[in-house]
């Protein structure tokens, strides 16, 4: 594993994390290593229960990993003192999915933004200009500052949440399923807004999503999570030619205009993933794998030994945790 470099905004190194303590603890993430650089976008995709939101919280410094380290700008978050930790956290902003609960319903948008600009004191007259500037950045009228969150549509609320994240001038924004509750036109608006902000400010992004078409549209690099582990990781091109059968399953599940999804997709053995706290032995995907031991009987190794994340292609840098990576030629 390479050492954290100072050009990276964020690196998580061999992170294991979960909730609870003692015998009732549940490990949700196991051995995750990923990095994000300025101006680049990392996509984290997976189904519910894959641990992607937990990873987002670890990256934002909101959840302390039980093992491994989180480096922010080359500095280990675990070694920072309280003051420095607070400052460091402000460089990474997490935008949550639920636009209903992400804004204080009783504070005007202007008050919310003014507080984000300077959380340690009461809003002042001078904040007005900065609030208007933020609203303008996310293409909302200055008038919006005087209104309450419930007066806005879902897409507009996500704009406000983005504006609040921008108020602290972060270098990295982590967006946790921020468009999954929006219809496609609003989703397109938000995605294009994020792209424009990235171009203007050289922001690093982590886009957490279950929607592969969103990941494909937004990301330079993608990590596919399955039951708390990375199944496949590399350039976004991996979606076009998956090496891991799970990535293939995800890709073929996207509804598209061809309609072939209904008839041509192989039926997996079990439709739903297991429990991340207690994953199946060996490769966690093996009970569902259409190329695994349930279908190809001599592939018993999948049920007994955990495949390491290893280079899967010759030309491009794509890593897959699979004993029998899909042949790149067949795709």
């Amino acid at each position: 594993m390479s050492e954290p470099s100072s050009q990276e905004l964020l690196r998580v190194a061999d992170v294991t994390a979960g909730y609870g303590a003692g015998s009732r603890s549940a490990r949700v993430l196991r051995g995750i290593s990923l990095a994000v650089s300025p101006g680049r976008t990392l996509g984290i995709v997976g189904e519910s229960g894959s641990g992607k939101s937990t990873l987002a919280r670890v990256m934002a410094g909101q959840l302390r990993p039980s093992h491994g380290a989180v480096f922010l700008g080359g500095r280990d978050l675990g070694s920072l003192r309280r003051q420095d930790l607070r400052r460091a956290r402000r460089q990474t902003q997490l935008i949550p999915q639920d636009h209903y609960s992400s804004l204080n319903p009783r504070m005007t948008v202007g008050e919310t933004l003014a507080e984000a600009i300077n959380p340690r004191r009461s809003p002042r007259r001078g904040d007005r200009a900065r609030v208007n500037e933020l609203l303008e950045t996310v293409a909302l009228d200055a008038d919006a500052g005087r209104r309450l969150p419930h007066e806005f549509s879902g897409g507009q609320r996500q704009r406000i949440a983005i504006a609040r994240a921008l108020a602290v001038q972060p270098q990295l924004i982590i967006a946790d399923e921020i468009t999954s509750a929006l219809d496609s036109s609003m989703q397109a608006e938000i995605l294009n807004l994020l792209l424009r902000l990235q171009r203007e400010r050289d922001l690093g992004y982590v886009i957490v999503t279950h929607d592969l078409s969103v990941a494909q549209y937004m990301c330079d690099e993608i990590a596919v999570l399955y039951l708390g582990r990375i199944a496949e990781h590399g350039s976004t091109r991996l979606l076009a030619r998956p090496a891991h059968p799970y990535t293939e399953l995800l890709r073929d599940s996207i509804p598209d205009s061809s309609g072939r999804m209904l008839t041509e997709l192989p039926h997996t053995v079990a439709a739903e993933p297991g429990d991340a706290g207690n994953p199946p032995s060996g490769c966690p995907f093996h009970p569902r794998c259409p190329h695994g031991p349930q279908v190809v009987t001599d592939r018993t190794i999948c049920g007994t030994s955990l495949p390491p994340l290893q280079l899967a292609g010759e030309a491009s840098v794509i890593y897959a945790a699979c004993h029998f990576p899909l042949s790149r030629a067949t795709a």
Partner: protein
Amino acid sequence: MIARRGRKLPAVLIAGAALLMVMILVAAIAPILWGSKAAALTSDIRLGHSARHLLGTDSLGRDVFYRTLVASRLSMLMALLATALAVAIGLILGAGIVAAGRHARATGGRVIDLLVSYPPIIIALAITAIFSPSRISVVGAIGLAFCPQFARLGNTLAASVSAKDYVTSTRFLGVSRVRLLSRHILPNIAAPILVLASVGFATSTIAISGLSFLGLGVQEPSYDWGSLLAAGLQDLSVNPIEATGPAIAILLTGLGAGLVGDGLARYWEPRLPGISAARAGKRRPRPQPQGTGSPAHDGDNTGRDRTVAEVRDLRVSATGERGGVPLVRGVSLDIGAGEVVGLVGESGSGKSLTAMALARLLPPGLAWSADRLVINGMNLAAPGSPPARLATEVGIVFQDPTSCFNPALRIGTQLTEVLRVHKKVDRKTAASMAVAGLREVRVPAPESRLSQYPHELSGGMRQRAMIAMALLTEPALLIADEPTTALDVTVQADVLRLLHRINTDYGTAILLISHDINVVATLSHRVCVMYGGRVVEEVAVEDLRAGRVQHPYTKALLAAAPDRSAHRVTNPLRPLPGRPPRPGQIGHECSFASRCPLVMAKCRAEAPQLTTHGSGRVACHAVQIPVAVGDEQ
């Protein structure tokens, strides 16, 4: 800070506040004006009602009316202090525990539970019994006795608010604990606390009067309503009117405080609907006067020999104080036997209302009408209850299976209910049919599922169980309202495949509603695109998949939805400009005119009719203009 500009004050608040203001005014001036009159001893003892003594006199000849008025100050002041004490102690305990940390939260919560379980009046009696009776001890006793209620409520509310994303976000911005509490937590729990406080004021008025009545409160020569009541009751057989004064005063105070509490709750809750909206819901749906010319329907593109559903000029409107707001504005639609029809549009386009109207399941508060509404031969256009057969001919699958199953009943009970009610089969047959139904939708171990509760199933399993339930009566039409929106992509693909198989194997017609044009294009044979409460385009799925769509809105929907060809640099997504029109704001113009790239003068003057175009139908002036056909080469 929490008062909101430009909101009308609720009538209950005005009434309650007016009543309380009068009481407070009396409390303020009565002791000054009538203090001596109320204390004056006369020889006219135990007189009844007269012009001189409105409520008679007591055993020492004092005027009860004036005594009641004078007692207001002490009575209300004590109730106010006791309530303030209860709120303060309660909030410090309740919210403080939340701020203190995880362990304190658990233990503190239990202690509060324990305290709440004791009746406050018993606690108050115990406290007053320990100390010598006085106005101070009674205020303290009531304050302490009532504080667990506020602690409980404050604790629950603060815990739920502090789990919200905005509190988490703010906390990680570095906002201090005090500010977090004062700006984010307290304002968001203030409304329910104040409601409880005003009710608490009413109850403590009564409780303090009660204690005084028992002789544990205010002592002579001071007097409050409670001690007046006690004196009055002693003379009840001789002079019944004596007790009414303090009784009415206690009643009015309680009523005023209660009304203020109710009114405050309405005023402060920005999202709470007004009373008028709630009342509108009580009216039965009734047919509305017909609108202008209904769109002519050609009936040539249903493609199937039998129709399962036939809808002509369906209109749905919200009944409100400002008259009807049209939500669905004349939808005509056919679903052939074995056909999958997709209904797609942005939120608010009227697609779900159209589907619910088809099943006669519109929520209260909505009025509907249709020229024709026929499902499998049943005429549903007439008002009144739909025939019972409708429940078995139409199956419905909703977006959120969690809210469609009763969490307290086993899956088996809910699945067999429809069979036992509508098909009159016995319990055993119904159970075996339910098992077969679950197996049909590929729920593993169907026998054991019958005894499980909804929460024991995963989201995908619940959705399958709901589909199984909808199919049990072998309906001719399945309405699936956003059936996959809440699901993971892999589970979504599974559910879509399941619906596809049901359609091909059993010939069940499906009306599939989704905001996702790709989902609709995957499963449907024919797609209706809705905008502003109307169908603006109807297109065969082959044309949709090939991008051969006519209406600029359909084109825009396709351009905004990400698919494999989308690329952030070379082929960026193109969101629609502007916002969908609000219902009620659409006049005679084309509802899409304000967002349309092809808008012409005609579009702002009249709405286009849905007319045949190629193999589909489209409502657009720009498309319907015959393009100058000429030999270009």
